[in-house]
């Protein structure tokens, strides 16, 4: 046994203690609160998505003549196909919800402020990539929503000044939705976007480790007690417990509300009532209110403002002398976000 250990140590010259020292770092006490585990939640769900996504890829066929049938086959014929597909769908929903909640938490606690501005920008990249993965995902099923969603999405891209035309061409593989389009969405959904997400995630976590987790001072803390606890094993165990709970929640959701099959895409008929997934309700409503170019440019401006928010916030605080100005703006923005989402959810048109 000792010879085996020696053999291994010669070839992989890192022992357990060194690994522990490398990965371990003190974690501020507030991370014991579940609310602060929202960053780990989407990362955990992303792993679930990779595993279930690989499983689904064994059967999925990315062509207009076969896509819907292959998803139907997964759902109705393959052993536990309905379960894997439902987990994939629900984990996507929860992942997007968790990313949004994580961002709201970071925003309201001001954790994006100097020197963590760059990590906020990377976080915005993660949010946008996650939304794009969600969008390309539901385009793959080749239901009515898939087809019309792709159509509308590509035309929104086209409305971007200067580069819009080539982008639409690149997304669709032609001037309009054609037999090459689905494979492009598949490549984006299963390779390009997840690859980008992994890169951004590595950068995001690296910067968190380099800066350390933002330390907050809460009024009810005992100053005599230690201010931090160990990442390993304490925080890792918290995240693992969370993972266990998430798996139970995902299984329950998948069983109670399994992913079903909508009507197959019909390029000749847009259904009388058609809506995107819930996370695009706000932009969907926005597009109804404003002319296309105005809606696209204003949406772009809002997203750009969100990306550079740490610097806007710093500027506003300097000019207005109001330290919590971001909190007031955040409350208005969150109310708008919820209000528009609810409005779109309750009306037919």
């Amino acid at each position: 046994m000792s010879r085996l250990k020696q053999w291994w140590a010669e070839r992989v010259p890192v022992d357990g203690e060194q690994l522990k020292a490398l990965t371990n770092e003190p974690v501020p006490n507030h991370l014991k609160s579940w609310w602060f585990c929202l960053g780990g939640t989407p990362a955990y769900l992303f792993v679930v998505q990779i595993i279930t996504g690989i499983l689904l890829a064994f059967y999925y066929q990315a062509a207009p003549g076969a896509a819907y049938e292959s998803v139907e086959y997964i759902t109705n014929q393959v052993a536990f196909g309905w379960y894997i597909r439902s987990i994939h769908k629900w984990a996507a929903t929860l992942m997007i919800a968790a990313v949004i909640l994580h961002q709201i938490r970071v925003y309201f606690t001001g954790a994006y402020r100097r020197p963590r501005e760059v990590n906020w920008v990377i976080g915005m990249g993660l949010l946008l990539v996650t939304l794009m993965i969600g969008f390309t995902g539901y385009c793959l099923v080749f239901e009515q929503l898939s087809f019309w969603g792709a159509q509308v999405g590509a035309n929104i891209a086209e409305a971007t000044p200067v580069i819009g035309g080539p982008i639409k061409h690149l997304i669709l593989g032609g001037e309009s939705y054609n037999e090459r389009t689905l494979s492009r969405f598949y490549v984006m959904h299963a390779m390009i976007l997840p690859g980008t997400l992994i890169l951004l995630l590595v950068l995001h976590i690296a910067l968190i480790r380099l800066h350390g987790v933002t330390e907050f001072q809460f009024g009810n803390e005992d100053p005599e007690k230690p201010q931090t606890f160990n990442f390993f094993p304490d925080h890792v165990l918290s995240e693992l417990s969370l993972g266990l709970v998430l798996m139970v929640v995902l299984s329950a959701l998948a069983t109670l509300w399994p992913a079903d099959m909508g009507l197959k895409a019909d390029p000749l008929t847009t259904p009388d009532v058609i809506k995107p997934e819930w996370f695009f309700y706000v932009s969907f409503r926005w597009l109804k209110w404003f002319p296309l170019t105005g809606a696209v440019l204003s949406s772009g401006l809002i997203v750009f403002s969100m990306i550079v928010w740490p610097w806007i916030d710093s500027f506003l605080r300097r000019v207005t002398k109001i330290e919590e100005i971001s909190v007031y703006i955040g409350i208005v923005a969150t109310c708008l976000l919820i209000g528009l989402t609810v409005l779109e959810a309750v009306v037919a048109h």
């Binding site: 062509a63 207009p64 003549g65 076969a66 049938e69 019309w148 159509q151 509308v152 590509a154 035309n155 929104i156 080539p166 061409h169 690149l170 593989g173 032609g174 001037e175 309009s176 939705y177 054609n178 037999e179 090459r180 389009t181 197959k264 019909d266 390029p267 000749l268 008929t269 847009t270 259904p271 009388d272 009532v273 058609i274 969907f284 597009l287 109804k288 404003f290 002319p291 296309l292 170019t293 105005g294 809606a295 048109h349």
Partner: protein
């Protein structure tokens, strides 16, 4: 004058390197050329590869179009209209708005909403084409009346028409995504539904 002489002698000393300086200067030049050639090769090679990759993503086989016979012009009187389905499945409404025998006396309105590409349908009670995606609406002439198309003044697209010897032709795309579908049931159902849709133009 004395200063000028001094400057001249300095320039000469720079122009004529000593025996020790020569090899290092040659080495520097060689390094520069080697680095430049390497950089140019890398940029050229990978640049070309990048260009080819990008070009690869833009397929060159664009959808072909062709003139398709619709009907003889005497079949349609002024103010009348008829639905028409192209070989690729795209639908349109063709109407006559003049007594003459030219293409300008006819109009072929696409059923694709110019806002974001959804399909409009005729709502008889409101006498309008309605787009369910973002609540756009158009009158019977295809002019925008409500929603985002109205704000941006986007009318329904008109297909190109030609009249030759009393025969009406429309220029239409030949192939669509539906050609690729193995299950033709939905297409057939769609065609039946579209053919049965009567649209009276104002």
């Amino acid at each position: 004058m004395a200063d000028e002489k001094q400057d001249q002698s300095q320039e000469e000393s720079i122009d004529q390197p000593t025996a020790e300086q020569a090899p290092s200067s040659d080495a520097g030049r060689r390094d520069f050329i080697a680095t430049g050639a390497m950089a140019a090769g890398l940029v050229g090679g990978y640049g070309m590869f990048g260009y080819i990759s990008l070009r690869f993503l833009f397929p060159s086989t664009e959808g072909e179009t062709a003139l398709q016979f619709v009907m003889t012009t005497d079949r349609l009187k002024v103010g009348e209209s008829a639905p028409f389905t192209a070989p690729d499945g795209s639908t349109m409404v063709i109407a006559r708005n003049g007594e003459g025998e030219t293409a300008e006396d006819f109009i072929a309105l696409s059923s694709v909403c110019p806002h974001l590409g959804c399909q409009v349908h005729w709502v008889a009670k409101d006498e309008e084409f309605f787009c369910p995606c973002h609540n756009g609406a158009f009158n019977a002439k295809g002019e925008p009346t409500k929603g985002p198309p109205k704000y941006a003044n986007q009318a329904l697209t008109k297909f190109e028409l030609e009249v030759v010897d009393g025969k009406l032709f429309v220029r239409v795309p030949l192939k669509s995504v539906r050609e690729d579908e193995r299950g033709m049931a939905s297409r057939d159902a769609g065609q039946q539904r579209d053919n049965s849709r009567e649209t009276r133009m104002a």
